[in-house]
């Protein structure tokens, strides 16, 4: 993908992230993550009903990449079954860590396909994905 298009997608999600803001609802399960080596932190909540991810919301302070990937992930995983979600997460991690992966499963998350070239950003790109794993198991 063209770098300008990638940048546009990342910025769009950074400036207008999906699922931003936590709500007061006990039917959601919550998890928090922060990166020990930097300053990003997110708080996440997800509602899983009949094994389907109905909603994901988040809050916190984080950099552009971290925020954008959170938003993209939420769009990707909402409405999926837990099993489907796990497959997408695994596939995303395969891309980040330079293993074989299936582009078709990634949607807009493909914008991070070259993040491995910046090792100091890998944690930013995986924070949200690690957080949702804590919630859905």
């Amino acid at each position: 993908m063209d770098q300008n298009l990638k940048r546009t997608i990342i910025l769009e999600h950074y400036q207008h992230p999906a699922g931003k803001g936590l709500i007061d609802d006990d039917t959601y399960k919550r998890a928090d993550m922060n990166i020990e080596s930097c300053i990003d932190e997110i708080h996440m909540m997800a509602k899983v009903e009949d094994n389907v991810i109905k909603d994901i919301r988040f809050d916190g302070e984080a950099c552009a990449i971290s925020t954008a990937t959170t938003s993209i992930m939420i769009n990707q995983l909402k409405g999926k079954t837990v099993a489907e979600a796990k497959k997408i997460i695994e596939n995303y991690n395969n891309m980040i860590y330079e293993k074989e992966y299936d582009k078709e499963l990634l949607g807009e998350a493909i914008v991070f396909d070259e993040i491995y070239k910046q090792p100091n950003r890998i944690k930013c790109a995986t924070l949200a994905w690690d957080c949702i794993k804590k919630i859905i198991g």
Partner: protein
């Protein structure tokens, strides 16, 4: 400028504005360490042969250099540690653990570094003493009046950074110590951000304990100093027991420990670190501490003038005197700003700077921090300003 030639790392086009984290090293410090490892790398206090004698001489000469540098009364008051954090932990767990009682109060502020907060929190769990915070004024500073308000009959110790690492304000330590001593309160100071930047005179300040790190004053990492008034240090329980700190012991458990300072320096010390620290003190003395203070203030004044002219920069601490500036680009997360500046070879620190409680006072959790040292220049500031002015392109650069 000749000073810059003393620092090999500055031969690249690096712009280093993270001196609050650690300072660059002059060639003379690097050479002194290499000289030790190349020509007399024996252990200390084993003076049976000449190179070991030399180690002892250099080691104890450096202790005396430190004593003179901070104007302590005697060398027994200077303990070598691995840095401020270890020094502060020794003060808290080696002295105050036995000095304080349940319910006694410790006064800190919310702008302290974690190394001056977490040991006290832990001590509270151990013995039930209580941490209270001196309120900061609307500029983030500690005033004598606010200290007065917080003192009561339970207050036993005030522990403050001499200069804070985010706000950069210089605390009125001398006045605070005078007030504290009138109420039988001891004063601890973390001088990490002031040592090597301004004159620190423990006798004039009448401070009871002080901690600092060598690497923030042109010295190597892994070496620092614990200063304490002799009468208090002499009561400190060593945190480590072993070689070098005992005079004699026997099978029945009778032990006699050495006198200060050796009792508090168990094990083979960081000799190369001490050698490097000595060279750093010599170097700073050659530049002159008052010159260093003056250069930093001029740089700060120049930078503030320039930064105030950029619309998209918010400076959080315009009222302080040290070489520390906390800022953000409007609407940009501090880490993204730091990554952007890094693309232009400019090093600044992003984050909460180990002062995680400051968000209450600053109304922002994360900032970028510029911290100057005497080898920084107005030209470097001009470059920073130019790059920040182009900040609207930040995401083109970092994404």
């Amino acid at each position: 400028m000749d000073i810059r030639k003393d620092f090999p790392i500055l031969k690249t086009n690096l712009i280093y504005f993270d001196n609050g984290a650690t300072t660059l090293k002059p060639q003379s410090v690097i050479d002194a360490i290499t000289e030790y490892y190349s020509h007399y790398s024996a252990n200390a206090h084993r003076g049976d042969y000449s190179i070991s004698q030399k180690v002892d001489t250099v080691y104890e000469t450096t202790r005396n250099k430190v004593r003179q540098f901070i104007n302590a009364r005697e060398t027994g008051e200077i303990i070598f540690t691995k840095g401020s954090t270890e020094s502060l932990n020794m003060i808290v767990f080696g002295f105050f653990k036995y000095y304080l009682k349940k319910g006694d109060e410790i006064l800190l502020t919310k702008s302290e570094h974690s190394s001056n907060i977490l040991p006290w929190f832990e001590l509270g769990k151990d013995i039930g003493c209580v941490v209270k915070y001196i309120p900061l004024d609307n500029k983030g500073k500690v005033t004598l009046n606010n200290v007065k308000k917080m003192i009561n009959e339970k207050t036993k110790v005030i522990s403050l950074a001499h200069i804070t690492n985010v706000v950069g304000d210089i605390r009125p330590l001398k006045e605070i110590t005078e007030l504290a001593h009138q109420h039988n309160i001891l004063v601890v100071s973390d001088a990490s951000q002031s040592i090597g930047h301004m004159k620190v005179d423990v006798t004039d300040l009448d401070i009871d304990f002080m901690a600092f790190s060598g690497h923030k004053m042109c010295g190597p990492t892994g070496i620092g100093v614990l200063y304490g008034k002799y009468e208090y240090l002499d009561k400190m329980r060593p945190m480590e027991f072993g070689g070098g700190m005992n005079a004699s012991f026997d099978v029945d458990g009778t032990v006699e420990y050495k006198s200060l300072p050796h009792r508090l320096e168990a094990g083979t010390p960081n000799i190369a670190g001490v050698v490097g620290l000595g060279a750093a003190i010599d170097y700073l003395n050659r530049i002159g501490i008052d010159n260093i203070t003056r250069i930093e203030r001029e740089l700060r004044k120049y930078a503030l003038e320039k930064l105030s002219k950029i619309d998209n920069v918010i400076v959080y601490n315009t009222h302080t005197d040290s070489g520390i500036i906390a800022f953000n680009l409007k609407g940009v997360f501090s880490q993204d700003t730091a990554l952007y500046l890094d693309q232009h070879n400019i090093c600044v620190r992003a984050g909460s700077h180990c002062a995680k409680m400051l968000k209450d006072e600053f109304n922002t959790k994360n900032t970028c921090r510029i911290s100057f040292y005497f080898y920084n220049t107005e030209e470097e500031i001009d470059k920073l300003v130019e790059v920040l002015q182009d900040g609207k392109d930040i995401f083109k650069v970092i994404l």
